[in-house]
C-alpha cells in the first residue's frame, strides 16, 4: 500500500512524463500508471481530470479533441514548451531525492533502478 501523500505527490510527474512521451487522454494515463506501478497506484477519474484541467489552466498542457473511430470525439492532451520546462524541473527534483535516498539504502536485489 503506497501512502496517500506519495500518490498525490507523484501525480504531476506521472502525468507530465506520460504526456511528454506521446499525446494521450485521461483514461489512458490512468491505465498506464496502473501498469507501471503494477497495480499499486490506480487514479480515479475524479482525482485525475481536475489536475489535468488545472495544468491546462496554468499553461503546461494543451487540449484538443480528436475524432476516433468507433467512439465519439475524445479529449487529448499534449505538452506545451512551458510544460516541458516544468517537467525538467520535476525530474531534477525527484532524481536528486532519489539519489540521496539510494546512497542510504544502497542497491537491493529485485529493485529495478531504471525506468520501465
Amino acid at each position: 500500500m503506497i501512502q496517500k501523500p506519495l500518490i498525490a505527490a507523484s501525480l504531476r510527474p506521472f502525468i507530465l512524463s506520460i504526456i511528454a512521451e506521446e499525446e494521450t487522454y485521461g483514461y489512458e494515463i490512468i491505465h498506464h500508471v496502473q501498469e507501471l506501478t503494477a497495480g499499486e497506484i490506480i487514479y480515479t477519474a475524479s482525482t485525475l481530470y481536475p489536475v489535468l484541467h488545472q495544468l491546462e489552466n496554468d499553461g503546461l498542457l494543451e487540449s484538443f479533441w480528436r475524432e476516433v473511430e468507433k467512439a465519439p470525439n475524445r479529449k487529448y492532451y499534449r505538452l506545451t514548451p512551458i510544460g516541458a520546462k516544468s517537467l525538467e524541473a520535476e525530474k531534477r527534483q525527484w532524481l536528486h531525492v532519489h539519489r540521496a535516498l539510494m546512497q542510504l539504502w544502497g542497491p537491493a536485489p529485485g529493485l529495478s533502478l531504471s525506468p520501465a
Partner: protein
C-alpha cells in the same frame, strides 16, 4: 432490461446538474466511462456489472464536485467564458429571487415582523449617521483650518488649574508682534447683539466686534467687498447677505449697497464696506454684523489691561511652523505682563467643538463623547435588530426542515440551498432598506427639530447614501449568512424521516441572544429614565432666585437716559411687581476677576470672584433671599459704594458676619451691605462662585418681575411704556425661564433622543420576542393539546409558555443593571449638581420591561392555549 445507453444518458443528466462541470468536461467524463466499461467487459463482466463497477471507479461524487470546483474559475477565464458565466449566474439569481419572493409571501407574518424590526433599526442608524456627519463637519470648512488655533489660558488658582477661553485685549497684538511663528491673530468678543437701523427701520442682529485681519484667518467669503480692507476704517461695517436683503430688499445686489450708511445702536453711523455670504449652519462663529474691534477698544481703557480676560483670540500659525515650538514660546507671555498663574497655549480651532473640554489642565474630550455615545447606540440598535433576524430565521428551521430535505433529495447542493436562503434574507433586507429610506426622508423635518440642525434632502450626499447602502448590505450579509448556512446543512435523511430535532446548542444560542437583546434594551431604558429625572431636577430645582415671571428688555435709548422715570411709570401699570437693571443676565455671568480684596485677604489667594453690576432693587426683583444686612437703598446715598455678597463670598472672606466689613472692588473701597443666599449663575455643571453685587450705571438690561397670572397684561404694560420712551426702537423682550431652558437645549435634546431610542429598542426586542414566542407555541401545539386533554387550565399553559421567556428577560435585565449604574454615574458626575441614582429607577424599569415582555409573549401563549386540542392532536 439493462440498457447501457440509457444508463449513460441518465448519468450524463445527473452530471449536467453539477455547476462545477463545464460543457466538454461532461463529454470527457462520459467518454472515460465508456472506455472503462469497455475495458471491464473485456475482462468478462456483463454490461450491467461493468457499468456499475465503472461508476465506482470514477470516484465519489463529493470529490468530483469539490475538485472540479477548484479549477472552475481558471477554466472559465482561460476560455474567455466569463461573460457566459455571468449571464448564467444572473439567470440563477433571477430564479432565486422568484422563489424567495414566493416563499416570503407565503410567510407574510414572519416577513412583516422581520422587515419592520430591521427597517426601524436601519432608519435609526441612518439618522444617527446623519447627525454624526453633521457634527464632525462643524468648523471644518475654513481654508486655512489646519493652521488656525484658539488661544486658551490655563489659570492656576489655589493649586487647581482652570482652562479659560477668553484672554486679555492686548494679547492678540503681542502674539503677532513678538512671535515669528504666528502669522496673524484675530481678536473677537463673545457674541453680541446690535440694533441696526436704516431708513427708519430697525433690526436686532447678531454680530461681533472683530479685528481687521478676521478674514485673513477665517474663510467667510464676501459677495461684495474686499476682505483685506473691509474692516480697516473706523467706520466700517460688514453685513451678511440676509441682513442686506432685510435692509435693502431682496434685489439688493442690483443696487450698490457698498458705501451706504447704516446706524448701530442709535449711536454710530457706519458705512457698509462688504457683504458676506450667510454663515453656514456648521459654524460656531456666527454673525450678521461685523464691526472693527479697534473702535470698541478706543473708548474703553479696561480692555487694554492684562488682568481683564474677556476676549476670544484666534491665531493663524505660519506654514511649516511647529505647534510645539510656538506653545513653548508663548506660554509665559502673560507672566511677562504681570499676570502670574496664567499660562497661554494654542489649541487647534477645528477641534474646539468636539474636543473642547479641559479638566485640571488636560483635554478630556468634550462633545465627542456625545457623538461616540450615539454611534454606540446606533450599533446597539442594529445589533438588536440583527439578532431578531437571526433568531427568527433559525427558529423557523423546523418548519422548513421537510422542504430542505426534499430539495436535497432531488439534487440541490448545499451551496445552492445556501444561496437560496441568503437571497431570501437579502430580499428582506432590501425591502427593509427601502422602508428605512422612506422613514428617513419622511421624518427628516422632525429630526431637524429635535436635534436643532438643518439637514435638507439635498444634503444627503452620495457619500451618505453609499454609507447607508453599505451598512444595510453588511447587516444583511452578516445576519443572513448564519441562518443560510445553518438551514442548508440539514441532513435530508433525518429531516424526511421526521426525526429531526433541533440541536440543544441552537436553543442555547437563541436564548443567549434574547438575553443580550433585553440587556441592551434595559441599558437604554434605564439611561433614559435617569436622564429624564436629572433634566427635571435641573429645570425645577431651586436656583436661589425665582426665575419664573421675569422679563427683560434692552437698556438703551430713552429707557436708559430716563431710567428712573421709566421705572416709576412702569410700576404704576397693572401686572408689574418690580423693576431693576443688571449686566447682563444673572444666569450667565461671565465677568470674573481675582482682584477684589479685603482686609486680611491672603495675597496669594487668586480665587476668581463673579462681579455683577446692577441697579437698585436687584435683589428684590430677582426675589433672592437676603440672609444678613440689607441691599442697596436709594435712601442711603453712600450705598452707591457698598456691596452685597453671596454666601460663598462671605466664606471666602472668612467672616462669619461680613456686614460692615470693608471690600475693595475696581479700586473702590466700600462696606459690605448684606449677604444673599447662594444662587446659580450658570448651567448646573458649574459650581457657584463667590459673587459680589455692585451698584453700577453700566448695565445692559432692564429686568421686570411680573405678577403671577397677569403676564399678558404685564407684557402689554411693558410694551406701552417702552415704546413711549423708545419710539424708534423695535420692542423685543426675553423671558428668563425661556433663556434658562435654552441653555440646556443640548441636554434636553439628548433626553428626547434617549426617549425615542428607548422606545425603539424595546419595540424591536419585543417584535423579536413576539416572533419567537409564536414559533415556540406552534412547535408545541401537540404538547399543549395533550396537556389540555389531561386537564391543564388555560392560565396554567400560558404560565408554562411564558415562564421561559420571562426568565430570559429577567436575566438580561440583571446583567444590564451594574453596567447602567456605572455609565449613568459617570454622566451624572459631569454635572456639579445632580440627582442620586436610586433603586426606584431600576425597579420601575425592570417592572416595565417585564410587563411589556409578558404582554408580548402572552398574546401568543393565550392563542395557543385556547386552541382546540382535537385539531392539534389530529395526525398531520
Amino acid at each position: 432490461m439493462f440498457d447501457l445507453e440509457l444508463s449513460i444518458a441518465a448519468w450524463r443528466r445527473m452530471l449536467s446538474n453539477n455547476p462545477a462541470l463545464v460543457g466538454d468536461d461532461i463529454d470527457e467524463l462520459v467518454q472515460h466511462l465508456r472506455d472503462q466499461v469497455a475495458a471491464l467487459r473485456a475482462e468478462g463482466l456483463s454490461q450491467e456489472e461493468a457499468f456499475r463497477r465503472a461508476l465506482v471507479l470514477m470516484g465519489d461524487y463529493a470529490t468530483v464536485e469539490r475538485e472540479y470546483g477548484k479549477v472552475y474559475w481558471g477554466k472559465r477565464r482561460r476560455r474567455g467564458e466569463l461573460v457566459h458565466e455571468l449571464v448564467w449566474r444572473t439567470a440563477m439569481l433571477k430564479n432565486y429571487l422568484k422563489i424567495a419572493w414566493r416563499t416570503l409571501f407565503r410567510q407574510k407574518g414572519y416577513a412583516f415582523i422581520n422587515v419592520t424590526g430591521l427597517s426601524v433599526g436601519l432608519a435609526c442608524s441612518f439618522f444617527i449617521l446623519l447627525w454624526v456627519m453633521h457634527e464632525v463637519s462643524v468648523d471644518r470648512f475654513h481654508e486655512r483650518g489646519d493652521r488656525i488655533y484658539r488661544v486658551l489660558r490655563h489659570e492656576t488658582i489655589n493649586g487647581e488649574v482652570f482652562t479659560k477661553t477668553v484672554t486679555p485685549g492686548p494679547l492678540g497684538a503681542a502674539l503677532t508682534n513678538d512671535y515669528p511663528e504666528i502669522e496673524n491673530a484675530t481678536i473677537t468678543r463673545l457674541d453680541q447683539e446690535f440694533l441696526v437701523t436704516y431708513d427708519g427701520e430697525s433690526f436686532r442682529e447678531q454680530g461681533n466686534h472683530v479685528s481687521a485681519d478676521f478674514f485673513d484667518v477665517f474663510t467667510f467669503p464676501l459677495l461684495q467687498g474686499n476682505p483685506a480692507t473691509a474692516l480697516q476704517s473706523a467706520k466700517a461695517v460688514v453685513i451678511s447677505e440676509r441682513l442686506a436683503a432685510n435692509l435693502f430688499g431682496a434685489d439688493w445686489q442690483k443696487h450698490g449697497v457698498l458705501g451706504k450708511s447704516i446706524n448701530i445702536d442709535h449711536e454710530k453711523d457706519v458705512t457698509i464696506t462688504a457683504v458676506a455670504r450667510d454663515v453656514p449652519d456648521n459654524s460656531t462663529i456666527r454673525f450678521d454684523v461685523l464691526l472693527p474691534i479697534r473702535e470698541f477698544f478706543a473708548t474703553r481703557e479696561w480692555t487694554q489691561q492684562w488682568g481683564n480676560n474677556s476676549f476670544p483670540v484666534y491665531v493663524l500659525l505660519k506654514e511649516g511652523a511647529s505647534l510645539a515650538d510656538a506653545n513653548a514660546k508663548i506660554a509665559g507671555v502673560m507672566q511677562q505682563h504681570g499676570e502670574q498663574d496664567e499660562a497661554v497655549f494654542l489649541y487647534p480651532f477645528e477641534d474646539m467643538y468636539l474636543h473642547g473640554r479641559f479638566e485640571h489642565g488636560f483635554n478630556t474630550g468634550g462633545r465627542i463623547d456625545l457623538v461616540r455615545i450615539f454611534v454606540v447606540v446606533a450599533v446597539f440598535l442594529l445589533v438588536i435588530a440583527s439578532i431578531n433576524f437571526m433568531n427568527l430565521a433559525t427558529a423557523r428551521s423546523t418548519q422548513r426542515s421537510k422542504e430542505i430535505g426534499i430539495r436535497k433529495a432531488i439534487g440541490s447542493t448545499q451551496r445552492s440551498l445556501g444561496a437560496q436562503f441568503l437571497t431570501e434574507t437579502m430580499l428582506l433586507v432590501a425591502v427593509a432598506f427601502v422602508l428605512a429610506l422612506v422613514f428617513v426622508i419622511g421624518l427628516l423635518p422632525a429630526f431637524n427639530t429635535v436635534t436643532g440642525t438643518n439637514v435638507g434632502l439635498l444634503d444627503l450626499s452620495p457619500v451618505f447614501l453609499a454609507a447607508m447602502f453599505g451598512i444595510a448590505l453588511l447587516t444583511g450579509l452578516l445576519t443572513g449568512s448564519y441562518p443560510a448556512f445553518y438551514l442548508s446543512s440539514f441532513n435530508p435523511v433525518v429531516t424526511l424521516r421526521g426525526t429531526f430535532r433541533q440541536k440543544p446548542g441552537e436553543a442555547r444560542l437563541r436564548k443567549g441572544l434574547v438575553v443580550f437583546q433585553f440587556a441592551l434594551s434595559t441599558l437604554i431604558l434605564v439611561s433614559t429614565a435617569t436622564v429624564y429625572v436629572q433634566i427635571r431636577y435641573i429645570m425645577e430645582e431651586d436656583l436661589g432666585l425665582d426665575r419664573g415671571h421675569l422679563v427683560s428688555v434692552e437698556l438703551e435709548g430713552g429707557v436708559q437716559e430716563r431710567y428712573e422715570l421709566f421705572r416709576q411709570e412702569l410700576l404704576e401699570k397693572p401686572g408689574i411687581v418690580n423693576v431693576t437693571t443688571c449686566d447682563p443676565d444673572p444666569l450667565s455671568i461671565n465677568y470674573f476677576s481675582s482682584d477684589p480684596s479685603w482686609e486680611g485677604k491672603d495675597s496669594d489667594n487668586q480665587t476668581e470672584m463673579a462681579i455683577i453690576r446692577v441697579g437698585y432693587d436687584f435683589v428684590e426683583t430677582m426675589q433672592m433671599e437676603l440672609i444678613a444686612g440689607r441691599t442697596h437703598s436709594r435712601q442711603f446715598g453712600t450705598d452707591a459704594g457698598g456691596y452685597v455678597i453671596n454666601e460663598q463670598m462671605a466664606k471666602l472672606m472668612g467672616k462669619e458676619d461680613p456686614v460692615g466689613a470693608r471690600l475693595t472692588v475696581w479700586g473702590q473701597e466700600g462696606p459690605v451691605l448684606g449677604v444673599v443666599k447662594d444662587f446659580h449663575m450658570a448651567t448646573f455643571d458649574t459650581p457657584i462662585s463667590p459673587t459680589i453685587i455692585v451698584l453700577n450705571d453700566d448695565t445692559e438690561r432692564v429686568w421686570v418681575r411680573t405678577e403671577a397670572g397677569k403676564t399678558q397684561e404685564a407684557l402689554a404694560s411693558l410694551k406701552a411704556v417702552y415704546e413711549e420712551f423708545n419710539p424708534s426702537y423695535p420692542f423685543s423682550y426675553r423671558f428668563m425661564d425661556q433663556e434658562y431652558e435654552a441653555m440646556y437645549r443640548s441636554v434636553r435634546v439628548m433626553g428626547r433622543l434617549a426617549n425615542v431610542f428607548a422606545v425603539i429598542a424595546t419595540l424591536i426586542s419585543c417584535l423579536g420576542l413576539f416572533g419567537l414566542a409564536s414559533f415556540t407555541a406552534a412547535r408545541r401545539t401537540k404538547e399543549i393539546g395533550v396537556r389540555k386533554v389531561l386537564g391543564a387550565s388555560v392560565s396554567g399553559i400560558v404560565g408554562l409558555l411564558s415562564k421561559d421567556f420571562l426568565q430570559l428577560v429577567g436575566v438580561g435585565f440583571l446583567i444590564a443593571v451594574p453596567l447602567t449604574y456605572f455609565a449613568m454615574q459617570r454622566w451624572l458626575d459631569s454635572f456639579a449638581y445632580h440627582i442620586e441614582l436610586s433603586l426606584g429607577v431600576y425597579l420601575l424599569t425592570g417592572t416595565l420591561l417585564l410587563v411589556i415582555a409578558l404582554l408580548t409573549v402572552s398574546c401568543q401563549a393565550i392563542k395557543a392555549a385556547l386552541a382546540d386540542p382535537v385539531k392539534s392532536l389530529r395526525y398531520e
